[in-house]
């Protein structure tokens, strides 16, 4: 399933798994724009939690790699029954939690049962709803039975929300997480930083870094200053793309530009009486100059998209031509739809792609005779008014979850797209296992929403990072929200 949470719209995590060379410098300070509210990835939704703890402190049965592939982690290997309902995992031997206790099948059972329990506060509870039973066969074997076959179950287990925790320490995990990862938690200065130290008794390949500090800087200017002043060694989700040319020109730094799973869209309330007419939505699409937005808001970083799908995915269809920038056509469409003096609300969440993009879109819409009333909202307000209250005409948001086109099949989702045809396509997709069928269905889904001009499709969010030029092993792209430091090291 697909996840789209508020925090994750900022989330620009990184990956690149390289061999770690031992270097003289063994500590790193990594900048992050948002501070995690707590450090328990199984109890909180914020992407920032995973960005600190994923792969560093906590590990799951499987894990994402920098290239987006899912590989075994705590599970050495697994077998799947022919009906696709029973998964049997063999665990690594000799894995211990940071408190010294050993990790075994009971911990796995505890973690998964806890996540799917009635009173669970796991933000991705639905990942686990397909599980009907978890059994600890022996200390190193876990058997999981599903109620229905699920082609993406192994991927689900790689999510940060599915990491393995110990029952003895879970109550304090929010402030003192205890996992099995290569780093142990040392301390958290709320509002400033989280410090990690190398786990000397790590079961896997030991990491090169002895200490790692995540420092939280929300202000883009402060981020720029801290980076320039050398206070921060790497800022994978660097929030001020306008300054990247300066870093590029400076030999001290390396700019890392990668892709994210974030489709940045002009979300349109399809049930709004002003926008229920497809001609008006089409007019909006033609009124928008994507390149101007990418240049103006992201300073050139970003790939135009014509539908809700990541361009780096093999099944991506480039449909940008279908909604090419054509203000005259937009005006004609509006005339055809018989609307004049259209005035729309444009509610913008905090990230700069939304705030800056919003101003540009407002200007572009004004060109074709559509007035917008901009309201800059905080996330909490955005959630309340836009996401839950559906009280909006337009908003700009980046949907950063991988493969999340399925949200269009939910007619109650905030943009309220209700197409029986599309829903049928997705239902079919869920049952399809043949790769070419899946590919066909995914492409059909992309085409459908582009044809219906559900939302304005702007660009795929780039992951712009800056790092000290001597650091290697940082993730380049963000297949999931993480700052995996396991492969990071300094060169001389």
């Amino acid at each position: 399933m697909i996840r789209s949470n508020v925090m994750s719209v900022f989330a620009l995590a990184a990956c690149l798994n390289m061999s770690a060379a031992l270097a003289a410098q063994t500590s790193i300070t990594v900048g992050m724009q948002l501070e995690p509210p707590n450090l328990d990835p199984t109890g909180g939704a914020a992407a920032a939690i995973d960005e600190v703890v994923y792969a560093n402190i906590f590990e799951g049965l499987t894990r994402y790699q920098a290239d987006g592939s899912v590989v075994p982690a705590l599970a050495r290997e697994w077998t799947i029954s022919d009906d696709g309902l029973v998964y049997t995992f063999a665990l690594h031997d000799g894995v211990t939690f940071h408190d010294g206790s050993s990790m075994d099948a009971n911990d796995v059972k505890f973690s998964l049962d806890r996540a799917r329990a009635e009173d669970s506060t796991n933000a991705q509870k639905r990942l686990f709803t397909g599980i009907s039973m978890v059994e600890a066969v022996d200390p190193l074997t876990v058997r999981i039975t599903l109620s229905n076959p699920d082609g993406s179950f192994i991927t689900s287990l790689a999510w940060g929300d599915a990491v393995i925790v110990a029952p003895e320490t879970i109550d304090t995990a929010t402030t003192a997480p205890v996992g099995t990862g290569p780093f142990t938690f040392s301390r958290w200065v709320q509002g400033d930083r989280v410090e990690l130290a190398r786990n000397p008794s790590y079961w896997g390949t030991p990491v090169a870094l002895e200490r790692a500090t995540f420092k939280f800087i929300s202000d883009p200017t402060a981020a720029f200053a801290a980076m320039m002043a050398g206070d921060i060694d790497a800022f994978p989700g660097y929030p001020a793309p306008e300054t990247l040319p300066q870093f590029e020109a400076d030999p001290r730094f390396r700019v890392i530009v990668g892709s994210t799973e974030g489709e940045t869209i002009l979300s349109t309330n399809n049930k709004s009486d002003k926008l229920s007419d497809i001609r008006i939505r089409k007019a909006l699409a033609h009124a928008i100059d994507r390149q101007a937005i990418i240049d103006g808001a992201m300073f050139g970083y970003g790939t135009p998209i014509g539908t809700h799908f990541a361009p780096h995915h093999p099944d991506y269809v480039d449909l940008t031509g279908q909604s090419a920038y054509d203000p005259q056509k937009a005006r004609d469409l509006l005339k055809e739809a018989g609307v004049e003096n259209l005035s729309l609300s444009l509610k913008l969440p905090p990230p700069s792609y939304a705030r800056r993009g919003g101003e540009i879109i407002a200007a572009q819409l004004r060109e074709v005779g559509i007035e917008t009333e901009i309201a800059n909202l905080e996330w909490a307000q955005w959630l309340e008014q836009v996401f839950r209250g559906k009280d909006f005409d337009l908003t700009i948001v980046s949907h950063t979850e991988p493969m999340d086109i399925g949200i269009y099949a939910n007619p109650d989702y905030y943009f309220q797209y209700d197409s029986a045809e599309f829903q049928a396509t997705i239902a079919e997709l869920k049952l399809a296992s043949d790769p070419s069928d899946r590919s066909r269905l995914l492409q059909a889904a992309q085409q459908r929403i582009a044809d219906d001009f559900v939302n304005g499709y702007l660009f795929q969010l780039a992951r712009t990072g800056v790092a000290n030029a001597r650091i290697q092993g940082l993730w380049e792209n963000a297949p999931t929200q993480a700052n995996d430091l396991t492969g990071v090291s300094w060169t001389d």
Partner: protein, 276 residues
């Protein structure tokens, strides 16, 4: 000893600059060198030139035009906020002085102390969080904190007037407290209120800049100096004009208002003191 008679000159400069800023702000209603609502990405971040006297911002908008409209935003917010403070604060202060020692006086003074005890910026942020960021709510947030200022200044000055014999004479004539407040007290503290108003005006511009700097002032596309600063901060090293000119605009305007306020204080009535 050479003495520099600086006050009248400062007053003149202050008033002149304030007038110019006001005039520019008003002029922006009918004319700016370029439109400020249009976005022209191709023309972004241009250095000052003959076409764009102060250069362009990250959306290709003319900085000079933005500053002109920004002046309007800042001035309007500050004037209305101070107006709100006066409109509520002055009657409160007048009544408190008229009822000196009574429950109303107590209530007004306690209320004042209470409001003063709250951290201004934090509450302003809260207010905009409650009602949503907008110029109107910025006016409200700044205005609320102007109320106790004017209430206090008015009360202090009015109490001094109430001890004058002409107030006693009026009371002997059977005039009521409300009438005396309007007829005798208010006209005699008006110059003090003008001075305080000028100073609060300058402060209002600073607070407005701070609020819009954190994104809680006037909303785009309406330009405001504070947001212009916030937007351009990261570009200061390659487009310094974007961060320098709005900052200078704030400094110059506030400076002019403060000079005018101080000058007016000395000019209108050398006896009045800054009320605290």
């Amino acid at each position: 000893m050479s003495r520099i008679r600086h006050m009248p000159r400062a007053l003149l400069v202050g008033l002149a600059v304030t007038t110019v800023v006001l005039a520019v702000a008003l002029m922006s209603l009918v004319w700016t060198p370029h439109a400020v609502t249009g976005v022209d990405i191709a023309a972004r971040l241009q250095p000052p030139s003959t076409t764009y006297l102060l250069g362009t911002d990250h959306f290709g908008r003319d900085l000079l035009s933005m500053l002109m409209v920004g002046a309007r935003t800042s001035m309007a917010v500050a004037i209305l906020a101070v107006g709100l403070g006066m409109l509520v604060g002055v009657p409160l202060g007048l009544s408190a002085a008229a009822m000196h020692g009574g429950w109303l006086d107590d209530l007004v003074m306690r209320g004042n102390d209470l409001v003063f005890a709250f951290p201004v910026l934090v509450i302003a942020i809260l207010i905009t969080a409650v009602f949503g960021p907008s110029a109107v709510n910025a006016i409200l947030a700044i205005g609320i904190f102007n109320i106790p200022v004017f209430a206090r200044v008015t009360r202090g000055a009015a109490l001094a007037i109430w001890t004058q014999d002409y107030i006693r004479a009026a009371r002997v004539c059977g005039k009521g407290r409300a009438r005396i407040s309007m007829e005798h007290v208010l006209p005699n503290i008006s110059s003090l209120l003008i001075v305080q108003g000028t100073i609060q005006f300058g402060l209002g511009i600073l607070v407005e800049a701070g609020l819009s700097y954190v994104g809680l002032g006037a909303q785009p596309p309406l330009p405001s100096w504070g947001r212009m600063l916030a937007d351009s901060q990261t570009m200061i090293s390659f487009a310094p004009q974007l961060a320098i000119f709005p900052g200078l605009a704030i400094v110059i305007t506030v400076l002019a208002l403060n000079l005018a306020g101080d000058g007016l204080r000395d000019f209108l009535d050398p006896r009045i003191r800054r009320a605290r």
